[in-house]
């Protein structure tokens, strides 16, 4: 067996790369931000344990939740269906409108840098404002009920999917697009023939995540009066019907799990 002398072997690089002073300052700042945030906002452990004990007391909320009350399963089921319909309708409209926004927000496909900047700003605005706020705005516009919820989900999804669609189009291979441009294809022809097929897996994945997000989000929209099962959940809590609230939560959980499983199956089949 041949052995190598130590001097013949080139020494390995240091285990940790040398960092500059500014990098150390940056790391300290991040650590300081995390620590101060935890200290300022995280609950104290004693407070947490006292509160948890109240939850499990004989008159506590958790104790009163069991057994769940499914006596109103039919009306709750209809409301759950309305929630799903809100999610599907809002998501569909949002995804549909996200496509033109995304095209306009893409460097390569946008007709002008100004248009691109405006489209990006609109997408960022839609994404930044929470869907509950959009729900309140649309309740003012179209009144209480599922229509406001659909509009809120739609705007939220334009923000969510618009960004991911734009990123997918930005990263798509430029070769086929150049080839079609060289043939003399117009902008729309290039986008539909070359960009969309290339982005289809990414579009599908984003759309399914958007649907899952919409189903989860649409339940919460009812809390502000934008239709769906959230209204019933709020009423159940307000009237201290915790057993019925648990039944609603369990049915919502079943819906969300079903949608997630379904979208996972579709994702596997399509991508």
């Amino acid at each position: 067996m041949t052995t190598l002398s130590v001097s013949a072997v080139i020494s390995p690089p240091p285990r940790f790369s040398h960092r500059s002073l500014s990098e150390y300052v940056g790391i300290l700042l991040v650590l300081g931000l995390v620590t101060s945030s935890l200290m300022a906002t995280a609950p104290a452990l004693d407070k947490l344990s006292r509160g948890a004990a109240r939850l499990f007391a004989p008159s506590g909320m958790l104790t009163q939740m069991f057994p769940p009350d499914f006596s109103r399963i039919i009306p709750i089921g209809w409301k759950l269906l309305e929630t799903l319909q809100m999610a599907v309708a809002g998501c569909f409209l949002g995804l549909l409108l996200a496509i033109p926004f995304a095209i306009l927000a893409t460097d390569r496909l946008s007709p002008h840098p100004w248009v691109r900047n405006v489209a990006r700003a609109v997408i960022a605005l839609f994404r930044t404002v929470p869907d509950l706020i959009w729900a309140i705005i649309f309740i003012i516009i179209v009144g209480l009920g599922p229509a406001a919820g659909v509009m809120a989900i739609m705007v939220d999804k334009i923000g969510f999917a618009g960004r991911f669609f734009a990123e997918a189009m930005e990263e798509s291979d430029a070769g086929p697009q150049d080839a079609l441009r060289a043939i003399g294809a117009n902008r729309l022809g290039t986008i539909v023939s070359a960009v969309f097929p290339a982005c289809l897996p990414s579009f599908t994945a984003t759309s399914l995540f958007a649907l899952e997000k919409s189903v989860r989000g649409s339940a919460a929209l009812g809390l502000v009066g934008a239709g769906g099962i959230g209204v019933d959940l709020k009423v159940a809590f307000d009237l201290f019907n915790y057993d019925e609230a648990l039944a609603i939560i369990l049915m919502m959980l079943a819906l969300v799990i079903t949608v997630e499983q379904g979208s996972g199956w579709i994702r596997k089949k399509l991508i």
Partner: protein
């Protein structure tokens, strides 16, 4: 050495033939770096011209500039009777429709079928959903696309997803798409690159047979000297941003071309 700008038709003796491509005083620079510096040459109709030169000599840049996929910096380009640099965006699209390109990377749309990719070639003269996917295309367009596929020997693979084909077959599909375009001039940017020697030869032979059959003009780039010698009528060599070699292929041999590549000097 720069080439003469007015080609003569060899068969016709002294008869002047209107060139299909005239490049004069052509300059291209990128951020002040001069890549092509005062090119002058012309190409006669029906001619297969090989453009050779070392990597980075500006061959692909020249091809892209000819149809303004890259904007030229200065000079004149007369192609198929059009002043290419003066074309408006709308006219440029119509002009590009007459010029078929075979790329080094075939640049097909990977998730679509072979037939849909070939039908994309019709976007040179047809717009809208009829030209986007095979399922939406009218019967005559589908029929023409099948004829183009038949011409490249892939009619039986029309329904296959294009990314499941071999490199050579994909290049054939790209040629079928180019045929669908009904071009008058063909630009080929290393169509034999990344193909094994036999497949590369088959692709080049197919390309040349189409050019001869339809009386088209071809300007092609190839790094394979044997292909340059076998499939061209004339050889142009680019070096230091200028045309440094211009001779009929009948007067060239592998050794002289190798010397050109080795020294980047006129052979």
């Amino acid at each position: 050495m720069n080439a003469p700008t007015a080609p003569q038709c060899s068969q016709a003796g002294s008869t002047y033939v209107e060139p299909v491509l005239v490049v004069g005083g052509f300059v291209k620079n990128f951020d002040g770096r001069l890549v092509l510096n005062g090119l002058d040459f012309a190409i006669a109709p029906g001619q297969s011209t090989a453009l050779i030169g070392a990597n980075g000599s500006g061959k692909s840049t020249l091809l892209k500039c000819l149809i303004r996929l890259i904007e030229p910096s200065a000079g004149q380009i007369q192609m198929l009777g059009r002043d290419v640099r003066a074309l408006s965006p709308r006219d440029l699209r119509a002009f590009r429709a007459q010029v078929g390109i075979v790329w080094q990377r075939h640049n097909l749309v990977p998730r679509l079928s072979v037939l849909s990719n070939v039908i994309h070639g019709v976007q040179s003269r047809l717009s809208g959903p009829r030209a986007w996917f095979q399922a939406l295309a009218p019967a005559d367009v589908r029929g023409e696309a099948m004829q183009c596929l038949d011409r490249v020997g892939l009619a039986d693979r029309a329904a296959t997803r294009v990314d499941s084909l071999s490199g050579g077959q994909q290049q054939r599909v790209a040629i079928a798409r180019m045929l669908m375009q009904r071009p008058a001039f063909i630009l080929a940017d290393e169509p034999d690159a990344s193909l094994d020697p036999q497949t590369g030869e088959e692709v080049m032979a197919l390309l040349l047979s189409l050019v001869r059959e339809k009386g088209l003009s071809l300007l092609m780039i190839s790094h394979r000297l044997e292909h340059t010698l076998e499939f061209s009528d004339r050889i142009l060599g680019l070096a230091k941003g200028r045309i440094a070699l211009d001779l009929p292929t009948s007067q060239a041999d592998a050794a002289s071309l190798r010397r050109f590549f080795d020294h980047q000097e006129p052979a």
